[in-house]
């Protein structure tokens, strides 16, 4: 299984994954779990009642707005990159942070590569399961490679036009 990296301020740390990622055909184990959106929609109430932490996997073609009502009760949302070239998860994460106000963990899963790490952070991802064997140092370097950004995004980074005014 891929390691789990998390943002900690400017740093990238290796974190223990306390969640179990559960496939739809598998039974729900004890403990904190990540389930698919469809499974959450049918079994979510029961899972939440069990007093554990719940995360939801959002496929690229699923609408994150469908989770809006339940977000306050979720610990984690995991937008899936089916291929790193599929950019829909960037919009999913952006909407989670900017529009739906989600403050829990937004975890990048799937074909997650360090070349895209900077974009992921800017769209609001704060946890990553790299599929390319990158080290935390490499991940950190990729995130901090650019000294400036031109546009506003879902992170707090001041864009060039703000820097220019300073």
């Amino acid at each position: 299984m891929h390691p789990l990296f998390k943002l900690a301020g400017d740093e990238v740390i290796v974190a223990d994954d306390t969640f179990i990622d559960v496939a739809d055909e598998d039974a729900i184990p004890e403990g904190d779990v990540i389930v698919s959106l469809t499974r959450f929609q049918t079994e979510g109430e029961g899972l939440l009642a069990g007093g554990r932490k719940i995360g939801v996997r959002i496929q690229a073609d699923e609408a994150v707005e469908d989770l809006a009502y339940d977000l306050p009760r979720l610990s984690l949302v995991a937008p899936v990159f089916p291929k790193y070239r599929d950019g829909r998860a960037y919009t999913t994460a952006t909407l989670l942070r900017e529009r739906l106000g989600f403050t829990g963990e937004v975890r990048a899963v799937g074909d997650v590569l360090r070349e895209q790490a900077g974009f992921m952070v800017r769209c609001g991802f704060d946890a990553f399961q790299p599929a390319d064997g990158a080290t935390p140092a490499e991940w950190r370097a990729a995130i901090h490679r650019h000294r400036h950004v031109y546009q506003r995004a879902a992170d707090a980074r001041p864009p060039a036009f703000t820097e220019r005014r300073a």
């Binding site: 950019g87 974009f119 769209c123 546009q151 060039a160």
Partner: protein
């Protein structure tokens, strides 16, 4: 032109450094070709038939003398002494080595140039009017808005992995020199009756395998809301554009399948949810960008340029050049000079390093250090004093760049085609050369008048054949190069898509067929009609007969 500040420079430098690292990892085996390809493409580096090709962004077609000289240096040091200007106002070098590209990007960055997002499924170089800042027709300077979009779209975190490539065009004149209606988003600046500046927003145009003209989804978007509104468009496209079929992934397919009205509704719905004040560009930054365009020191001149008029009267070649290549400037005593890269027998859009140096010298000496690239693969010196035009013309002539054929039949757009491109099915360049040679009699060419011939070597339509008055598409027919002719297209303000003339012709029949079409036009035309107008009045029949009947 827009002057970079320290932040702009550091952004380009960081990107070049990032690519240097990626190239090292590729050469060292840490990245596979599959992983590396999209990374090099986002820096404009293709692997073509004979070598790598590097496509350099020329933002909205605007370049200064120092930058043009740098192109010349790169052409000499890293290529074979020439470059190729494209229909996207970019410059391509066709003989590049992968190992050299990090150094080339560094050399470009020194003069504020880059190859960022000149390929890949991201927002590409913004097309704009090559006459911007020089024509009296425009309601505002479209370069300012193009630069706003350039900055906003550069390394955009949400929109760098779109379903497919994405192209903007920005125009501010009634006359469209950007082919706005065949862009993913065409933005036409207009002033409303109450004087406010707004964009007509046109979405879903494009060429390729399924050509569409863009649909207007908003008649008048107040300019201050540009960024939040295009964010809404891109977001709807990023979420709902098709990703299962590369041929159906452009936004034009989404707009066509939803219908323009439904697409517009979804955009408006998304836009309503976007917090515009935080997503639109602050007025202070817009003002800063506007001020960062070099103010030009025009002199107060008499509208009648005595020396120019005298020179034209005594030099028929200059007079011809003036008729075809010089356009009206907004300042009295100045002219817009188009430099044709369509010398008969040459490769359309190609320019040697020596010619680049000459154009740079002319821009510096006579043209307020401003050079433009047109989507028709020519150059423009947008601000030349009329009395300097004889000198400019003489120096262009001395370097083989004085062809007086702008908008005439030999001013042909052609993609590199099968001679270079890995995607092509047939050659485009030799076809353009054969046709141009038939119009080497300049009097005949002028008599024929405006005729836009556009040639693509494959269905991807980089040669804009769908919007040619005469469009020519190279196809592979059982292993032979054949060419499908179509008529009646236009990429200008009167945009239309060309219709197929008839069965594809073998290579050796194409130039002759163009002749036959032109003869039919000359027989049928009324008054000042252009070829396109005659076609629109008469339809296909007389032209079809002209080409196919003799064979019957």
């Amino acid at each position: 032109m827009y002057r970079y500040d320290a932040i702009d420079r550091e952004i380009v430098a960081d990107r070049a450094a990032e690519f240097r690292g990626q190239v090292e990892r590729r050469l060292g085996g840490d990245l596979t070709e599959d992983q590396f390809k999209p990374l090099r493409l986002m820096n404009g580096l293709y692997l073509q038939l004979h070598a790598y090709m590097l496509r350099i962004a020329i933002p909205y077609g605007s370049v200064n003398a120092a930058q043009m000289r740098r192109f010349a240096d790169i052409a000499r040091q890293y290529d074979k002494g020439y470059g190729h200007f494209t229909t996207r106002q970019n410059l391509q070098f066709h003989w590049i080595k992968l190992a050299d590209t990090p150094d080339i990007l560094d050399r470009l960055a020194e003069v504020d140039l880059h190859a960022i997002q000149t390929s890949g499924n991201c927002i590409r170089n913004v097309t704009s009017d090559p006459f911007a800042g020089a024509t009296a027709e425009e309601v505002d300077d479209p370069r300012v808005w193009s630069e706003v979009i350039r900055q906003w779209s550069t390394l955009h975190p949400e929109f760098s992995y779109l379903p497919r490539k994405f192209k903007f065009a920005v125009t501010a004149s009634a006359k469209d020199r950007t082919a706005a209606k065949v862009h993913d988003i065409g933005l036409a600046l207009r002033r409303s009756r109450d004087g406010t500046l707004g964009f007509e927003v046109m979405v879903g145009g494009g060429q390729g395998r399924t050509p569409y003209l863009a649909s207007t989804i908003r008649e008048h978007l107040p300019v201050g809301h540009l960024l939040s509104y295009i964010q809404a468009i891109l977001r709807v496209y990023n979420r709902h554009g098709r990703r299962d079929n590369i041929y159906k992934a452009r936004i034009k397919i989404l707009v066509a399948s939803l219908g323009a009205e439904e697409f517009a509704r979804q955009v408006e719905e998304e836009w309503a949810k976007i917090d515009a004040p935080t997503n639109d560009l602050p007025d202070t930054e817009l003002a800063r960008i506007r001020a960062a365009f070099t103010p030009l020191a025009f002199e107060t001149l008499a509208p009648h340029a005595g020396a120019y008029e005298l020179a034209k009267a005594s030099d028929p070649a200059l007079a011809r050049f003036a008729r075809n290549n010089v356009k009206a400037h907004k300042v009295a005593g100045y002219g817009i000079v188009e430099v044709s890269l369509k010398t008969i027998g040459a490769t359309p859009g190609d320019i040697t390093a020596e010619q680049m140096d000459v154009v740079a010298d002319l821009a510096e000496r006579y043209g307020l250090d401003d050079i433009r690239v047109t989507h028709e693969q020519n150059l423009v010196l947008p601000h030349v004093k009329l009395d300097d035009i004889p000198a400019v013309h003489a120096q262009l002539a001395a370097t083989g760049l004085a062809s007086a054929n702008i908008n005439l039949a030999s001013d042909i757009i052609a993609c590199p085609g099968l001679d270079y491109c890995a995607l092509a099915n047939a050659r485009a360049i030799p076809i353009a050369q054969h046709i141009a040679e038939r119009f080497s009699d300049a009097d005949h060419a002028e008599k024929v008048g405006e005729l836009k011939i556009k040639i693509s070597g494959c269905i991807n339509a980089c040669g804009h054949h769908h919007v040619g008055h005469i469009g020519i598409l190279g196809v592979d027919k059982k292993g032979e190069e054949f060419y499908q002719l179509s008529l009646g297209g236009s990429g200008a303000e009167d945009a239309s898509l060309a219709q197929i003339l008839g069965p594809a012709l073998p290579a050796n029949r194409v130039a002759e067929a163009v002749d036959q079409l032109v003869e039919a036009y000359l027989r049928e035309r009324q008054g000042e009609e252009r070829f396109l107008d005659t076609f629109r009045r008469l339809g296909m029949a007389p032209f079809k007969e002209a080409v196919y009947a003799p064979a019957l």
